[in-house]
């Protein structure tokens, strides 16, 4: 699963759930500061991602996820457990 695909999907989710302009979603976007997401919004984003990628995100993995890039790492890490999530976050 490549990062671009996950970012594309996550952007769609952000537009749908958070009502943001797709142009402002990037790997470095902070959910809270840039996308104006509260804790409930994040839960909604996670649930939408779980649905789209047919994954299940454990609650304890959500701690420390603040940016879109970190969320992408998380999704890839869970979807492809054999390969450690690449830390190619171009921050």
């Amino acid at each position: 699963m490549d990062r671009a695909t996950v970012l594309e999907q996550l952007t769609e989710v952000a537009v749908d759930v958070l009502g943001v302009d797709p142009g402002i979603v990037s790997e470095t976007s902070s959910f809270k500061d840039d996308l104006d997401a509260d804790s409930l919004d994040l839960v909604e984003v996670v649930m939408a991602l779980e649905e789209r990628f047919s994954i299940s995100v454990p609650e304890d993995k959500l701690d420390g996820i603040t940016t879109v890039g970190e969320a992408i790492d998380l999704v890839i890490g869970i979807a492809e457990p054999s390969e450690p999530a690449e830390s190619t976050n171009p921050a």
Binding site: D38, L40, E44, M47
Partner: protein, 247 residues
């Protein structure tokens, strides 16, 4: 009014049946969930359908999350997401604390408290997405007064107040209201089982001097499920003839 998709647990008789009928009368389509008595569940549906309403009887064991999930899935397939949830399913296994067994305690907590949690948890993602929802939990006056012989029942019903108010805070920003109705003594199969002496004693504690009817509880629940009740959330609303005044 109405036109929403509603789900009522414990809807085969008593308060739950009256709630299902009242919601259908308001124009909602109603998932009539029953625990074991399929014939009674069908009766509730017939009662709704005889007046032109839409109902769907579904067997569910609220103490089991997978059973609750299946019931919601069935409603979703038929009508779409549940917008109105009334968690009413409840049992009692009365006995004095000194003689109350672990199973007796756990069984009541599992159905009356865990069951409400399972239903609320399953219902809320759809409501959050829709930015609208109505949740009503059916509690009891004994949650706050206590009731000899009902430690398990009263503890479970008291737990529902904390659940109600927490979810009301968690989801208020999404247009979802969560309230609890606290009935006093109501004429149902549960209270029919009481001795005449106990019934007379309870009646004596009610300023209105009588037991209530399931319909009187249902009317309040239906109001809380309506658009008109949009600014009521986290409330514990007594329907008890005044029995609990001062809570």
């Amino acid at each position: 009014m109405g036109g929403r998709v509603a789900l009522v647990t414990g809807a085969s008789r008593g308060i739950g049946r009256a709630v299902a009928v009242a919601l259908a009368a308001d124009g909602h389509r109603v998932g009539v969930c029953f625990g074991s008595d399929a014939a009674a569940g069908a009766e509730t549906c017939q009662s709704i359908e005889s007046t032109g309403g839409e109902a769907l009887a579904i067997q569910v064991d609220v103490s089991r999350p997978e059973s609750v999930d299946a019931a919601f899935a069935q409603i979703e397939e038929a009508w779409g997401k549940v917008e109105v949830l009334v968690s009413n399913a409840g049992i009692n296994r009365d006995g004095l604390v000194m003689r109350m067994g672990d199973a007796q305690w756990a069984e009541v907590l599992r159905t009356n408290l865990d069951g409400a949690f399972h239903a609320v948890r399953r219902a809320t993602p759809g409501m959050v997405r829709a930015r609208w929802g109505r949740i009503v939990l059916v509690g009891s006056v004994v949650a706050l007064t206590g009731s000899p012989g009902q430690a398990n029942y009263a503890a479970a019903k008291a737990g529902l107040i904390g659940l109600t108010r927490t979810v009301a805070r968690e989801l208020g920003s999404r247009g979802i209201t969560v309230n609890l109705v606290a009935p006093g003594p109501i004429t149902t199969a549960m209270t029919d089982a009481l001795s005449d002496e106990r019934k007379a004693q309870m009646t004596g504690q009610v300023p209105l001097g009588r037991f209530g009817t399931p319909e009187e509880v249902a009317a309040v629940v239906a109001f809380l499920c309506s658009d008109a009740a949009g600014y009521v959330s986290g409330a514990v609303l007594p329907v008890d003839g005044g029995m609990g005044m001062g809570h």
